[in-house]
């Protein structure tokens, strides 16, 4: 009954929980701590978990554990590593963030959300899946509204909660339909839907997931929440949380309506349309933003659309390329939000115009901005390029050349606003042209995190073979 693979399957989660408890205890008993101590503890702990799990937890085969509640497979493993990495970087960003940095709760909430995400990526049962989604969402609602005396942050928290709760409810209704008609909650075992039922389920579940990964037309919360939430949290929300949504999306739809089945053409068509709308809307609206956080919010809406292109192609290459895309995207977007967090901490503004002369004020930060935004654009030798090519390749392979062309036209729109931002950073001058007098000192956590991310983006972009191997091994379990 009990086997070692059961422990291995949830070892990262166990360790995350232990770390969370440690932070909680230290928060209470360690009164004379320095402002960053809890942050270092969290980041160091996450690094330890990341390394330990990478060596110990990697599964050889795909098995079901805990009576079919969880799957212990490569897909879960890859996503868990990604979430833990994202949480580690986020905790580095949080350290120097006012009101987040020295509060034990913020780290505990972050760790709890990470546990939830890890379970989301490996859940194999509808009940488990729902629990995991809620374990992720509730801490995120709190974190988004963490700065209680800031109106925008409070608004962000409330808005996220209301929209999120509604989307969860709708998705739960979809789950209940599945259980009601088939009598099972096991993702793999469920089969045999009638046509109207399948349509209903696809729509209901899609709404819930579309909210999570901010697909149009369920993206309305994203810009407001991204703008209002503390910037490190926004970074986490737009990367790890979105990747978790994609993990669920792939597992759920490929499990319920497998490729080659009767309903596969139907839901892929729905998603192809959603992807088109999402990419186009995200990019076009991003063009007119003057606030960098809102611009990145719309840009991350658009990126969800690109990644969805890979899902639509419904092949191993497709799912592998989505996973690769998400890896590259998590690194890139974290770097982008890290820059914003570091910058606004000194300057106190998120307006794009405030970034004038940034490359002269801090040369290194300017270079990181170059790397991050060019990677978002999809330029080599950065991760974004290869990721985009693979996703579009998957669409071409599936015979959906029109979708690849839509994606490509969209990335041209994206090029425009990303370059416009870089232009402000590199070309425009501050008033008075005395940038040297207004340096932007980077504190150590930011410097470490941004350096790690820049190198990671370059590494993924240049030596993409091994990374893609990992990504595609994640995909194999689903077919």
């Amino acid at each position: 009954m009990f086997s070692s693979s059961m422990i291995m399957a949830i070892l990262p989660e166990i360790l995350l929980l232990v770390l969370g408890l440690l932070v909680l205890v230290f928060d209470i008993i360690w009164k004379k701590r320095d402002g960053r101590d809890l942050g270092w503890l969290t980041a160091g702990g996450l690094l330890f978990i990341l390394i330990l799990s990478a060596f110990l937890v990697r599964p050889a085969t795909s098995t079901e554990v805990f009576g079919g509640m969880l799957r212990y497979d490569m897909m879960g493993f890859v996503f868990k590593m990604l979430f833990i990495f994202g949480a580690m970087i986020t905790s580095l960003f949080m350290m120097d963030s006012e009101k987040l940095g020295n509060r034990g709760e913020s780290y505990i909430l972050l760790l709890t959300a990470t546990i939830g995400m890890s379970l989301m990526a490996s859940a194999a049962d509808l009940v488990m899946l729902y629990l995991a989604i809620e374990t992720t969402s509730i801490p995120m609602y709190v974190l988004a509204g963490f700065m209680r005396d800031d109106k925008k942050s409070t608004e962000a928290g409330l808005k996220y909660l209301l929209f999120g709760a509604m989307a969860s409810t709708i998705m739960l209704y979809g789950f209940s339909l599945i259980f009601g008609f088939t009598g099972s909650t096991d993702l793999v075992a469920i089969t045999g839907f009638s046509m109207p039922l399948a349509i209903g389920i696809i729509i209901l579940i899609m709404v819930g997931i579309a909210f999570k990964i901010s697909l149009a037309p369920f993206h309305f919360w994203a810009p407001d929440v991204y703008e209002g939430a503390p910037t490190p949290i926004t970074g986490f929300l737009s990367t790890a949380s979105k990747a978790a949504g994609f993990a669920v999306l792939m597992r759920l739809f490929l499990g319920l309506f497998p490729a080659g089945g009767d309903y596969a053409p139907m839901w892929t068509m729905v998603m192809a349309v959603l992807a088109t709308v999402t990419m186009t809307l995200g990019n076009v609206v991003a063009l007119s933003q003057t606030n960098i956080k809102r611009m990145l919010a719309y840009s991350s809406v658009a990126h969800a659309g690109y990644a969805l292109v890979g899902v639509v192609s419904l092949s191993e290459l497709g799912v592998g390329s989505v996973t690769f895309y998400l890896i590259a995207y998590v690194m890139t977007n974290l770097a982008a939000f890290g820059i914003i967090a570091a910058f606004s901490k000194i300057v106190g503004s998120d307006e794009i115009s405030a970034y004038a002369g940034m490359s002269r004020r801090n040369y290194g930060l300017g270079l990181v901005a170059l790397v991050a935004f060019l990677s978002l654009t999809g330029m080599p030798p950065f991760g974004g390029f290869v990721a985009k090519v693979f996703v579009f390749a998957a669409a071409v392979e599936a015979g959906m050349i029109w979708l690849a062309i839509v994606g490509i036209l969209n990335s041209i729109v994206g090029l425009y606003y990303y370059l416009t931002f870089l232009k402000v950073v590199y070309l425009h001058r501050m008033e008075g042209e005395n940038e040297e007098a207004h340096p932007i000192p980077l504190t150590r956590p930011y410097a470490i995190a941004l350096t790690v991310l820049s190198f990671a983006i370059l590494l993924i972009g240049v030596i993409f073979g091994p990374w893609f191997n990992i990504a595609s091994s994640a995909a194999q379990g689903l077919f």
């Binding site: 030798p381 390029f385 071409v396 690849a404 090029l415 425009y416 191997n469 595609s472």
Partner: protein, 490 residues
């Protein structure tokens, strides 16, 4: 294990760019010296490749192959043939002279040279890549530094507009070609991006007819093909001197070269099907470009449109699908590259002193700037296709090739030479001879010794090639033979 010269050529500018980025910003002289050392190194290596290319053996040489992503058949597969070898040398020459010309850049030279080298690295990569994926990889690397180089160091009045326009045009072109490349990959069913293998894929004629135009035109945008040439003169004008040199001298060849390598060589049936259209577009390029150049009063705009006209000759040569035409086009790529680099270098030197490029405002520059004047005149003679200069060696075969296809087009295209002669002569007379306006008195300082090296190198290459065509023409012809073999075999 032989010395991996091609990968050293590609990656040494990249490594140098990283090192330069890490140097302290106030060490401007050290940064410049580091840049010059790198450029010299690249020039020597590319010269070495050029000289040791075995013409008797022909085919692809200096081949290197490292598996990069076996599951997709992507490898870092490098090699040069008779067409790309001169282009590698050209890149080395332009890189070297470009660094010399940019010696005086005071605003953030560190970033300038780093971005310039990133660009150079991408350019080398495209010329030597034998893998379709890697070709795109390097192609994009060559495109985006242009944006920064123009936007940051360009001419204040138009730089933001021109940089964005250029980047959008090139990006659109390249991604459209990319979809075509992906379609080829999956259509072939071979699971490889290796272009030498894809050449044997025998795509169905229907497939080739659909995809040839997007692929060819997507790349040819960078070659300045009409009606997508519009970005090019704006870009030339807005860019700082060294970047103009790179842009017109090397980057536009990138487009023509990739259009040949991917468009014509991988989709030969499509090329035969559509060659009439490309032929027509290129003819418009040649004639229209020359006419527009004649009406310009800004020296840089004049050279920019003359580039459009001359690049039209390159594409025209390719589209004839004849041995003469393609050989001429191959040589024209080199000749035009050196020529425009020289033109832009000379114009930059004048502008730095006179602070204007408006031809009617200039005059009498020959006296204070004899080196610049002489170099400009040499460039002008090349541009007109004067025998004894490289332009003749290149353009004459192109017209021969065109004659074989449609004689009256050859006659039409030759008109462009007359027009070229007219505007070049006019510009030389107005800029370098006559009275020097009094306002310039005392401002026109002599050029530095190091600038002379650049001018002499560029002018010497053009005269040398004009006098001794045998140093390049047979080499290009071996490359063209291979292209014709593919076209014939299809």
């Amino acid at each position: 294990m032989t010395f991996p010269i091609l990968s050293v050529i590609i990656f040494s500018p990249l490594v140098a760019a990283l090192i330069i980025l890490l140097m302290p910003a106030d060490r401007k002289t050290e940064i410049r010296v580091a840049a010059l050392v790198t450029a010299t190194f690249a020039l020597i290596l590319s010269l070495w490749v050029y000289l040791s290319y075995d013409q008797a053996a022909a085919g692809y040489q200096f081949i290197e192959k490292y598996s990069w992503m076996p599951q997709f058949g992507i490898s870092l597969h490098l090699g040069v043939d008779g067409i790309s070898t001169p282009l590698v040398l050209l890149t080395g020459v332009v890189m070297f002279t470009g660094v010399i010309i940019s010696w005086g850049i005071e605003d953030r030279p560190r970033e300038f040279f780093a971005f310039l080298f990133l660009l150079a690295s991408g350019v080398f990569g495209v010329f030597v890549a034998l893998d379709l994926f890697m070709l795109f990889f390097f192609y994009e690397i060559a495109v985006f530094p242009m944006y920064l180089l123009i936007a940051i160091w360009g001419w204040v009045k138009t730089r933001e507009y021109a940089a964005m326009k250029l980047t959008l045009y090139l990006f659109i072109g390249s991604v459209i070609a990319l979809v075509g490349a992906l379609a080829m990959y999956f259509e072939s069913g071979m699971g490889t991006f290796n272009m030498l293998t894809l050449e044997t894929a025998n795509f169905s004629p229907e497939f080739q007819k659909i995809w040839f135009l997007p692929v060819f035109m997507g790349f040819a945008v960078l070659g300045g093909i009409w009606p997508f040439h519009n970005w090019s003169p704006d870009g030339h004008v807005a860019a700082p001197t060294a970047v103009s040199m790179f842009h017109a001298g090397v980057l536009m060849k990138l487009g023509a070269f990739a259009a040949l390598r991917v468009g014509i060589m991988l989709l030969p049936v499509g090329a035969k099907e559509w060659s009439w259209l490309i032929f027509a577009f290129a003819t418009v390029n040649v004639v229209y470009g020359a006419f527009i150049a004649m009406t310009q009063t800004d020296l840089k705009y004049m050279i920019g449109f003359s580039s459009v006209s001359h690049m039209g000759l390159v594409v025209l040569g390719f589209s004839t699908l004849t041995a003469d035409g393609m050989t001429g086009a191959g040589v024209q790529m080199f000749s035009h590259g050196v020529m425009t680099a020289l033109f832009f270098a000379a114009t930059g030197m004048i502008y730095d002193r006179a602070h204007t490029r408006h031809i009617p405002e200039l005059g009498g520059m020959m006296k204070p700037l004899p080196w610049v004047g002489t170099a400009f005149i040499v460039g002008g003679l090349v541009s007109m296709g004067m025998p004894g200069f490289s332009g003749f060696v290149a353009e004459f075969p192109i017209f021969m090739g065109v004659w074989q296809v449609t004689p009256w087009v050859a006659i039409l295209a030759v008109i462009s030479i007359v027009i070229t002669a007219a505007y070049i002569m006019l510009a030389i007379r107005r800029t370098f001879f006559g009275e020097m306006p009094a306002a310039f008195e005392g401002h026109i300082t002599p050029i530095k010794a190091i600038d002379k090296i650049a001018l002499v190198l560029l002018a010497g290459l053009m005269i040398g090639l004009g006098m001794f065509p045998s140093i390049m023409v047979p080499m290009v012809a071996t490359g063209v033979e291979n292209v014709l073999r593919i076209l014939g075999g299809a």
